[in-house]
Symmetry: C2
Subunit: 460 residues, 2 copies
C-alpha cells in the first residue's frame, strides 16, 4: 500500500514539486505507519493535529514559491531530549515530565527554517544514560526487526522510527554511541558529527565534552540532507567518487571478538570497499585497552555533575539503572577524571597522525547484533561480554577523540538482524563520511531492506 | 485608521504572538496602504492573492510553534531586480519583461527562511542605472513626501514603500548610492552593506565591483532585523551604547556646497552627536576631487560590459537615458578603467587608515533634498550642480571603497522634505553603523514622521 514511504526524501520532494504527491499525503503516510508500528513504541509524542495543519501550510508555501529546499514539508522526528517550542521536553525522565520548551533548540529551529515538518518526539533511554531504551517511565522501545530485541539506545526511538519510516529521518544524540548503536541495530544510517560541529544548545546534556546531535535515516544521502540543514555547510556532491580512498583498519582490534555473522560481514565489507577501489591499510593505535575505561569515567562523572542536585533531592524519581549509574559517577576522583581526559588527548593525537595516512578508519559498529530484551551478556567464542561494554568497544573511539563517525548497514545475521559498520573520520570529515557511505550504498541494498513488521503490516 | 502600520516590526510581531493581531491583518493593512498610495507607483507587482495565502500559512506555522524569528509573517517588498522564484524579474526593463525567475536569489531565500512574507516587487530605474526611478516602461515613481518630486533611485520604489509603509521593510540594491539616495529623499533608513557582505547571487548586476543589496525601513532597528536575516550574523544588541564614539568629519568636504537647510541639518546633527557624547574629529582625505569621475568610469564600464550583447542586438528596447549611459560606457579605455580602480585602492587605503582613528565618518547623504521631477540641476549658493553628480558627491565614497554606509533621516527642509545623513563604516562595520543610527533615532523623531499623503489618506 503505502509506497510513498519507499520514496527517498529527494524522490518524495520531487513528486510533490511535480504535483504527483502532496505534503498532507506524506505526513498522513508517516502517521499511518506510526499507527501500524505503535507497539514498537518508537514515538514518545506525536503532534498529529499539528502535523496535518503544518502539512497544509507547507503545501501553501510551496505553491507560492516558498521552496525552502529538500527538507521542505518532509516529516521528521526528534529525540525527546531536544527542545521544540511549545512542546514537552522530558528527556525520557519523570523529573522533566511536563517541562514545556519555551523556545527551540538550535537544531529544531534550523530544521524548521529548512522547512521540515516535525511530527513528534522519539522515545529514549532515560536522560540518554543507557543503551537499551527500556524506559521505566514511558515503556520499552522495541527493535524494528524483532520486537523481542532491544533497539539499542539511547536514541532507540529515533533508530526504530527511521527504520520503519514513520518519519523520513530522525535526530538522535550521541555521547558514547547513542546514534550509532540504534542505527546499527535497526539497520539505518546514523551520523555522529564531531563534537562542537552542530550546536547542542537547547538539548539536555549527558556528558558535555562528548555530546553531539545528528541524523538517522535510511540512507547516507538522506542523512546528508539533514546534516546540511543543521550545519549550514555547503553540501558536497555525494555523487563524486571518493577515490582514491585509503581505509585504515586498526590491527588487533577491528576484527577481534566478533559474533561470527558480524565477522563475516566485516570481511565482506572490506572486500567490497577493495573491489570499489579503496586501499585497505593496516594501522596501529596504542593503548586501546584503556579506551572503554576512560569513556566510562568521563561518561559517568560529567552526567553526575549535571544531575548532582536532583540526585540529592529527588533520587526516587530516577529509574533504578540510571540512578545507579549516576550515583556511581559520584565515586570517581578528580585525578581519575583528569587522567581519562589526558588519555583522550593522547588518543586523539594518535588518530590525528593516522588521518595523515588514511582518509577514514573502519570498524564494526558493534561486536554483535541486537540482543534480546533483558539480556545482559553476549557470548562470543565462548567468552561472555556485557552488552554495556560491548556497546562501547568500537563506538568509544570517536566519542573519546571528539571525531565524527557514521554507522552504515552492512549485512544481516542468520536471524535477519541488521549489522552495522562504523566509519570514523577526522575533524571536519562529516561530509566525507557521508560520501564514502553513499558510495557503499550505491553498491549495496542493506539499507533498503524493510523490517518484516512493515511487510507484515502491509500484507493483505 | 490603520494604526497597525505605525507599529514597529518588533511591536507588530509581539502583538501577533500575544494574539492581539494576526498576520492576515498585517498583510491586509499593507495591501490597503498600497492601494491608498498607488499613484506613487512604489510597487512594480503585488502578489495579493499569494499574500493572503501566505499570511494564513504563517499564522498556522506560528500557532504550531514554528516561530522563525522577528521577520516571521512580516510583509516585505523586494526591488524588481531580485529573483523571486516563480515571479517575473524584469529589473525595470522591457528586455527582461516576462523573465520568470526559476529560483530564488540568495536574499529572497534567506528572507523566506526567516519567515518573511514577500508582498511583491518595487519599482526601479531601468536596470538600476539612474537616480530618478522615472521608468519609461513602467511609469515614474513619485516621492513619498511630494508627488511632484523624484523619489531618487535606482531603488525608488523601495524607498517610497518603506516611507508610506505599504511594506514594513524593503530591499534595495546600491552600486553608486541606489539605497542611500531613496532612503534620504523619502525619509527612511537605508543600509548599504559592504561589497561581498551579502550574496548578490540571483540579482541582476549593474557594476559588479560595487554592487550591494540591503534593507530600507523606517528605523535602524528594523533595518537591523533584515540585515541579520540576510547576513546570518549574530546581532549586536542595538541598545548597548556605542560610546565612546569617534566621528570623523572630512575637512573641506562634508559641509561644502550644501543647500541651506541641509547645511543647517548637518550642523544640528553634529551638535546632537556631540551632546550624546561622541567626539567629532576633523579628518583629511586626499584626492576627493577625482572621486566622482572614478565612480562614473567604473559605474559606466562594468554595466556596459554586462549589457554589451543586448546593446548591439536590441538597443531600441532600452529607455533613452539608459541606452545613452550604456553607450557612453563603451567609450572608456581600459587604461581609464584601470586607473579608476587604482584610485579606488588608494582611496580605500586612506579610509582604512582613518578607521584606526575614528569609528565612523559622517557626511550628508546628498547636498540637496528631492528635486522636482524633470529637474536636471540644483542651484546652491548661485552655483548650478547637476542632480546626477550631486547624487554621487557623498555616496561615492563608500561605493568606491566597497565599505558599508547607512543613510538616516536627520531633518526636514522648509518644504517638509526629508534630509538624510550618511554614516560610513569600515569593512565589517554594518552592525556598528546600525547601532550608531539607532542611538541617534532614540533621541530624534525624524524617522517617525509620516509623509503627508498618509495623513491625508487617513483623514475622514
Amino acid at each position: 500500500m503505502s509506497d510513498i514511504l519507499d520514496l527517498s526524501i529527494g524522490e518524495a520532494g520531487r513528486q510533490v514539486r511535480q504535483g504527483r504527491l502532496s505534503f498532507p499525503e506524506l505526513a498522513g503516510a508517516c502517521l499511518d505507519r506510526e499507527r501500524l508500528t505503535r507497539r514498537l513504541n518508537a514515538f514518545s509524542e506525536i503532534y498529529e493535529r499539528q502535523a496535518v495543519e503544518l502539512a497544509e501550510a507547507y503545501q501553501t508555501l510551496l505553491r507560492n514559491g516558498y521552496d525552502l529546499g529538500p527538507l521542505h514539508g518532509i516529516p521528521l522526528a526528534l529525540k525527546a531530549n531536544i527542545d521544540i517550542q511549545g512542546h514537552e521536553m522530558h528527556a525520557g525522565s519523570r523529573i522533566l515530565q511536563g517541562n514545556m520548551a519555551g523556545r527551540d533548540a538550535v537544531v529544531s529551529l534550523r530544521l524548521k527554517q529548512a522547512g521540515a515538518l516535525i511530527l513528534g518526539t522519539t522515545t529514549m533511554h532515560e536522560f540518554a544514560w543507557g543503551g537499551t531504551t527500556d524506559n521505566p517511565h514511558y515503556g520499552a522501545c522495541h527493535n524494528a526487526w524483532d520486537a523481542a530485541r532491544i533497539p539499542a539506545g539511547s536514541s532507540g526511538g529515533s533508530g526504530v522510527a527511521a527504520a520503519v519510516r514513520s518519519a523520513f529521518a530522525t535526530l538522535g544524540t550521541d555521547t558514547g554511541g547513542s546514534i550509532r548503536l540504534p542505527a546499527s541495530m535497526n539497520g539505518v544510517t546514523g551520523l555522529r558529527p564531531g563534537v562542537g560541529r552542530i550546536s547542542t544548545e537547547g538539548i539536555f546534556p549527558l556528558a558535555w565534552s562528548m555530546d553531539t546531535v545528528g541524523p538517522l535515516a535510511r540512507s547516507s544521502e538522506e542523512c546528508a540532507l539533514v546534516y546540511t540543514a543543521l550545519s549550514g555547510e555547503t553540501p558536497l556532491s555525494l555523487d563524486d567518487a571518493p577515490y582514491p580512498l585509503r581505509i585504515g583498519v586498526i590491527e588487533d582490534y577491528s576484527d577481534q571478538g566478533l559474533q561470527p555473522d558480524v565477522a563475516r560481514a566485516w570481511q565482506q565489507t572490506l572486500a567490497l570497499f577493495g573491489e570499489m577501489g579503496a586501499t585497505i591499510a593496516p594501522v596501529r593505535v596504542d593503548g586501546l585497552e584503556n579506551a572503554v575505561d576512560a569513556q566510562v569515567i568521563v561518561d559517568a562523572a560529567e552526567p553526575s555533575a549535571v544531575h548532582g542536585h536532583w540526585l540529592q533531592s529527588r533520587p526516587e524519581e530516577y529509574g533504578e539503572d540510571v540512578r545507579m549509574l549516576l550515583q556511581a559517577g559520584l565515586g570517581f576522583s578528580a585525578v581519575e577524571y583528569l587522567q581519562a581526559q589526558r588519555y583522550r588527548t593522547w588518543l586523539r593525537q594518535q588518530l590525528e597522525r593516522l588521518f595523515r595516512q588514511v582518509d577514514v578508519i573502519l570498524t564494526p559498529t558493534l561486536p554483535f547484533t541486537a540482543p534480546l530484551s533483558g539480556q545482559a551478556q553476549v557470548v562470543i567464542d565462548g567468552q561472555p561480554e556485557s552488552v554495556l561494554t560491548g556497546n562501547m568497544r568500537f563506538t568509544c573511539l570517536p566519542s573519546l577523540t571528539a571525531m565524527p563517525a557514521l554507522s552504515l548497514p552492512a549485512g544481516f545475521d542468520a536471524q535477519n538482524l541488521p549489522i552495522g559498520m562504523q566509519l570514523i573520520g577526522p575533524d571536519g570529515g562529516e561530509q566525507m563520511l557521508l560520501k564514502v557511505a553513499h558510495h557503499f550504498q550505491q553498491r549495496t541494498d542493506f539499507h533498503l531492506r524493510r523490517p518484516p513488521c512493515i511487510n507484515d503490516s502491509l500484507s493483505p
